[in-house]
Amino acid sequence: MSTVRLVGITKHYGATVAVQDFNLQVADGELVTLLGPSGCGKTTTLRTVAGLVEPSAGRIWFDDQDVTDLPPRKRNIGFVFQTPALFPHLSVANNIAFGLSVKGAKKDAIGARVDEMLTMVGLAGYGSRLPAQLSGGQQQRVSLARVLATDPRVLLFDEPLSALDRNLRDTLKYSILDLQRRTRKTAIYVTHDQSEAFAISDRIVVMNAGRAEQIGTQTDIYLHPQTPFVAEFIGANNGLTGTVTGTDGAGDEARMVVAADGLTLRARPRPDVRAGDQVLVYLRPENLVVLPDGDGAEYDNVVDGTIDRVIFEGPTAQLRVDVAGRELRADISGSQRLTLIQRQGKVRLGFNDLTMIPAGAALTSAGSESASAAIANAAPGGTEP
């Protein structure tokens, strides 16, 4: 069991920065996901933890051990690659045995461990097959068994499901989560797939352009994005720019009034936003509700618009509404979506939760900054410079 700490990890290739001052602390047994678009530096970060990439700056700690200068083979990690990367010339059993046998384990001990692992991933009896004789999903399960056989301190996953088809992805992601929970291994999981990240993570790190934009639980990330990037990257979002004109109400009922793109919106106050500030406002399509005409007293915000298009997508219907010359998207579910299909003309929308972010809040979000400070301070024995 292990904790993992990344302090100030930076990696640049020539003049290109892949990762910039990345800080993260992963608790024992926790599964943390690095989520971001391709090229955001998440895989590079993971590979520095494995030792496959040497960071240009920063340190990596497993518990109290600084592993930055250790080669991968001395870190005792389990790395699951994008492709199963099973050694094609070795049988499934020999693949699983590889990690133990290079460390010089006894033959019968290896055999017992291999059987245990095969049973664990549900492939008992497949030991003598060659990797090419297995399906993609089975291969990835063998690669899981292979890394678990060596009893690694940390599990590292580099988009392990991206090469599989959709159905397999869904079942396998829960197998991974289940195995991680059962073995109580600390794990870092890299993906660009939001639903995957939300389904299995204890915490999510949203990365962009080599930096951590926000670190938090699923609900933090989803409901309280701290930066415009996170707000736009997670789910679809209606984004508006505006200016805070004042405050309305008091106590729990206090709302800030924002003039945005010709609309007047009311949002929960934030300590770092004052009247006169430029802000970005985001409304999630799934939070918009179609109101009967003349209604709307229980909503903070009520806007009127004209329906541009209705797109029926099965479980939901997408409503494109022209509000004061700006298109807003509303995702309608439940039985209401069926009645909307034929609807045209005026419509009234109501919503409460909207996210307000100061316009200046870019990469140096308060969240990740304080986290990095906390991690830096927590360096054991004061050996950190």
Binding site: G8, T10, H12, A15, T16, V17, A18, Q20, G39, C40, G41, E54, P55, S56, A57, G58, T68, D69, A209, G210, P385
Partner: protein
């Protein structure tokens, strides 16, 4: 990944990184060391050695009195052995030409139309076993009373006119180098997307127009590389001229070099011929590498 220019040095950069990279580079070079040492000892040093020797008179390089420096060998090369160089280049050039003529269509058909490519490849290795066997076999075929005799009688040509002649030498040389030509052109052709030809055909180009205006420009590198390679290889062989050529063809530089160097021990003159051959080979190699091989290392 957005490339943000960084002002180096970055604060806190581990000084170990640069050292580790240097160590990796050194490890790589260390693994190359045996190959480099063998090449230096048994290829580069001997080549330098013969260049030195070519500036000494006959076998005085080793005489107790010390070597006699001279440019006479190069003088002799120009005054007496220019025809030998001429024949060498003539034979190599003609063999290259024959290979081009037969090799380009062969490679095209092989890459585009033939399904039994592996069988063809298997049989194509026969010439690679060596010019010696080709020359030997051809000599037997062309000899009076050999398998080709009825053919000669049909056209009423004396056997010996063909046996010891320039065409038979060129023919044997081009058989030997034919696979190299086909390999180079074929590789270039298989890198050309066949849909380009279909596109040209759909735009109304005739087959020969497609060939001249689409295929030739796209495969030029392979063709030139193949031709240079064949030419370079043909400069150095001597079994074909020796077994199939008349006195004129037997004058090739490689064989003269052997006679001078090993039989008559006129090291100065022999090494001079070696240097001249080497100079030609280097020029050819330089262009051949520029056209083809570089792609392997990147």
């Amino acid at each position: 990944m957005t490339g943000q220019p960084l002002s180096l040095p970055i604060p806190g950069v581990a000084p170990g990184t640069a050292r580790r990279e240097r160590r990796r580079a050194l490890t790589g070079l260390a693994m190359l060391l045996p190959a480099i040492v063998v090449s230096l000892l048994f290829l580069y040093y001997p080549l330098v050695f013969i260049v030195q020797m070519s500036f000494t008179l006959a076998n005085t390089f080793l005489s107790p009195a010390g070597p006699t420096a001279t440019l006479e060998n190069y003088g002799a090369m120009l005054s007496r052995y220019l025809p030998n160089l001429g024949v060498t280049i003539q034979l190599a050039g003609l063999a290259t030409l024959v290979d081009l003529l037969f090799g380009i269509p062969f490679a095209y058909i092989l890459v585009r139309k033939v399904r039994y490519r592996d069988i063809v490849r298997a049989f194509m290795v026969f010439p690679m076993f060596g010019a010696l066997y080709i020359a030997f076999g051809m000599r037997f075929i062309l000899l009076p009373g050999g398998p080709a005799t009825p053919l000669f009688e049909l056209f009423n040509i004396p056997n010996t006119a063909v046996l010891y002649s320039l065409p038979s030498v060129v023919f044997a040389m081009s058989i030997f180098t034919f696979p190299f030509m086909v390999m180079n052109v074929g590789t270039a052709l298989s890198n050309v997307d066949p849909t380009l030809e279909e596109a040209a055909a759909c735009l109304g180009a005739r087959p020969w127009q497609t060939f001249v205006r689409i295929l030739l420009p796209l495969t030029r590198a392979g063709i030139v590389a193949g031709a240079l390679m064949v030419f370079g290889w043909s400069l150095g062989t001597f079994a074909e001229p020796l077994l199939l050529g008349s006195v004129n063809e037997q004058k090739t530089l490689a064989w003269t070099l052997y006679l001078k160097g090993v039989v008559q021990t006129d090291y100065g003159l022999a090494t001079t011929m070696g240097v001249v051959l080497l100079a030609f080979a280097f020029v050819v190699t330089y262009f051949s590498l520029r056209y083809s091989r570089g792609a392997l290392i990147e």
